[in-house]
């Protein structure tokens, strides 16, 4: 099965769940990397401004 071909059939609920799972794992993974490896990024002024924009104060 090629990545570019359209899928033959789709089951909406399970497709939706798997999609959410893939994106959630990637997001958690990247957040984990940023927290563990690049903590400096979180304390940089730009990110601090972004956080305060949304009312988050880590």
């Amino acid at each position: 099965m090629s990545l570019t071909k359209r899928s033959a059939s789709s089951i909406p609920l399970i497709s939706c769940l798997i999609s959410i799972w893939i994106i959630a794992v990637t997001a958690v993974f990247l957040m984990g990397i940023i927290f563990l490896q690049y903590q400096k990024i979180l304390t940089s002024p730009l990110i601090q401004q972004l956080f305060s924009l949304f009312g988050i104060h880590p």
Partner: protein, 631 residues
């Protein structure tokens, strides 16, 4: 511009062509039906570099490490390449035609990403050496200096370089010290090609390309493409051996030659690390076990014969290392033989205890006691290992797709359970022995192939393509950002904006174990270049120590403990004098890390050795650097 035409074109070309030219005739002889360009390149470089490594090892034992010896094998390689050039040209034409015929948007994008990545790594590999596996490049430097095999008795574990270290000897002999990075680049590129070739057996073209990119973007892997680390070398030989054996089992081959070649490749891999023979064991066990894919084609007797041939051939290749360990420690399988050859009270020897357990403890943020390693922590820290100041992670798609394997297990396109067996049997022992991502390139490649296989299966049934491409794009943007952030600094040297000294000064603060750059400059200026030093820390950092011989305090401690010399000061001074260690350098903060540091300070205060320099460095008054002169 500090990069000359010779450096940028001539050296890489010679190194690549000599590896290929030595490997291809052997491949043509043993596997005459293999005509695919990528397989020829992958196996050709693996076999050729293995043969050149063994040749260099032999030369260094015979005391023949001279440029002429190595130009001879280079000439043989170039002739071999010319002899096979026509064959390569025709398969290259076929491959290029196939690329243009079957390409689509995603394939083109992936190919462009790979090309840009490897171009970047190539430029980075032209800059001077910054850091690497000290135990391999140091010894290769000494072998070239003394024209023969050199023994460093304090390196019980690694006083003889593995075959990639011998390739460093080869490239240093015919070119200069910095050319060892080009060897690493060639080996790493071949590993990437190998992961593509192995993936292509099971996946679509896109899936295989994504595998190659994901493997390249694992942080310690791409670091090894432009710094002289040695893990990717033995991983390449291991992967080539595994690929060859799977290929032969599929072809139902019963000839002896191909299996001998497989054993040679696995033996080259096994020489890489003290636990690398796990790869050979896994492959031999794989052949013996009655897997569906090969149990009908080969009787148990045949399988026993094949695995015996593999084990014996690879054992023959690793024999010099076992002999060396036996001569120096009395344990051929040092340090793992200590369990069954010696008394059980000595569970793991001093060196392993100091290496493996301190490494493990670094990853455990909750505990500073090296002996309190909660083993279950290994599994959650492994995917995103925390190693201070170094990026170290695998990619999220293994975690995302492998748990979904059960959804597709009935209709799985990768029905080859042997892949699961290989991945788990290689990775689990390594994770328990020494949990570093850079020891696990082979299992990570196989797990990536399995994960993308699960994805390709799922996408036949469910509509998940968009979310996968979204996740992949986000991950690629993040990873490519970190890659370019790490490598662009080398461009300032490549394009002549800074000279070598300025470049090394720029890079120094990036390395955590290098707290005092002023110290290095001071040492470079004040001590004669031939003076040996004993130093605490700095083991991974090359910098200004490219030319200087140095001993690591860690290894001296292990050496003293092994020979029961640690309690006596007179013995200590004798060991230092015997090995011409004239100067001792250590940091005040290393007092509790090395008992020798405290001992040397006591000896200095008692007036037994003299101080030539002591100063607080830029991190504060606690971190005083001492330079003592023994005699």
């Amino acid at each position: 511009m500090y990069i000359t035409i010779s450096k940028a074109i001539f050296q890489p070309l010679i190194l690549l062509l000599s590896c290929l030219g030595v490997g291809l005739p052997v491949l043509r002889l043993i596997l005459p039906d293999c005509r695919d360009l990528k397989i020829l390149l992958f196996l050709g470089v693996a076999v050729g570099s293995g043969i050149i490594g063994v040749y260099s090892l032999g030369c260094s034992f015979l005391g023949l490490v001279y440029p002429l010896t190595f130009w001879f094998i280079t000439g043989v390689g170039l002739l071999g390449f010319l002899y096979n050039a026509r064959e390569l040209y025709s398969s290259a034409q076929a491959t290029i035609n196939a690329i243009f015929k079957e390409a689509n948007v995603i394939v083109n994008c992936l190919l462009v990403i790979l090309l840009i990545l490897y171009y970047d790594f190539f430029l980075a590999s032209l800059a001077p050496v910054i850091a690497g596996d000290a135990y391999k490049y140091e010894i290769s430097k000494l072998i070239v200096k003394y024209h023969k095999m050199v023994v460093r008795p304090e390196w019980l574990l690694a006083d003889m370089p593995n075959l990639l270290g011998m390739l460093f000897v080869y490239s240093q002999s015919i070119f200069d010290f910095d050319s060892i990075k080009i060897v690493c680049f060639i080996i790493g590129f071949s590993f990437c090609l190998g992961s593509y070739v192995l993936a292509r057996r099971y996946l679509s073209r896109e899936g295989a390309l994504i595998t190659a990119i994901l493997i390249t973007l694992i942080p310690p892997f791409y670091q090894e493409l432009y710094e002289p680390y040695i893990e990717v070398g033995w991983s390449l030989w291991g992967l080539a051996g595994i690929y060859l054996i799977l290929h032969l089992l599929e072809k139902k081959s019963t000839k002896l030659g191909p299996y001998l070649l497989g054993g040679f490749l696995l033996g080259c891999a096994a020489s890489g690390k003290q636990f690398a023979p796990i790869v050979v064991m896994a492959v031999c066990l794989l052949i013996l076990l009655p897997f569906r894919q090969h149990k009908l084609n080969f009787s148990f007797y045949n399988r026993l014969k094949i695995s015996t041939i593999l084990a014996l051939t690879s054992f023959f290749i690793v024999l010099p290392w076992y002999l060396k360990s036996y001569i120096y420690t009395g344990d051929p399988f040092y340090p793992y033989g200590a369990n069954f050859l010696k008394t059980t009270s000595e569970f793991l020897s001093a060196q392993v205890a100091s290496r493996v357990f301190t490494i493990t403890a670094t990853y455990d943020p909750l505990s500073s006691n090296p002996l309190r390693i909660p083993l279950f922590l290994v599994f959650w820290t492994f995917p995103i290992l925390y190693k201070p100041f170094e990026p170290y992670w695998i990619h999220p798609f293994i975690l995302a797709f492998l748990p979904l394997y059960f959804l597709t297990s009935r209709s799985a396109s990768i029905r080859d359970r042997r892949l699961w067996f290989l991945a788990l049997s290689i990775s689990i022992p390594i994770v328990f022995l020494s949990p570093l991502i850079r020891f696990c390139y082979i299992p990570l490649t196989i797990l990536t192939i399995l994960a993308l296989g699960v994805y390709e299966n799922l996408s036949q049934k469910y509509n998940i393509k968009a979310s996968f491409l979204l996740a992949l794009t986000v991950y690629l943007i993040f990873s490519l950002g970190t890659v370019f952030h790490k490598t662009t600094h080398t461009l300032s040297y490549t394009f002549g904006l800074v000279n070598k000294k300025e470049y090394l000064l720029q890079q120094a603060p990036r390395w955590a174990n290098n707290p005092n750059i002023g110290l290095e400059l001071w040492l470079a200026d004040h001590l004669p270049p031939e003076a040996k030093i004993l130093i605490s820390g700095l083991s991974g950092w090359m910098g200004f120590f490219t030319e200087r011989e140095r001993w690591d305090m860690h290894n001296l401690e292990a050496y003293l403990k092994w020979h029961h010399l640690e309690d006596n000061e007179a013995n200590l001074i004798k060991v230092l004098k015997d090995h011409r260690l004239q100067f001792i350098v250590f940091y005040g903060t290393h007092m509790d890390k090395f008992y020798l540091a405290q001992k040397f300070l006591d000896m200095y205060q008692a007036g037994k050795i003299k101080k030539i320099y002591a100063a607080a460095n830029n991190r504060g008054a606690n971190e005083i650097t001492y330079i003592l002169q023994v005699y």
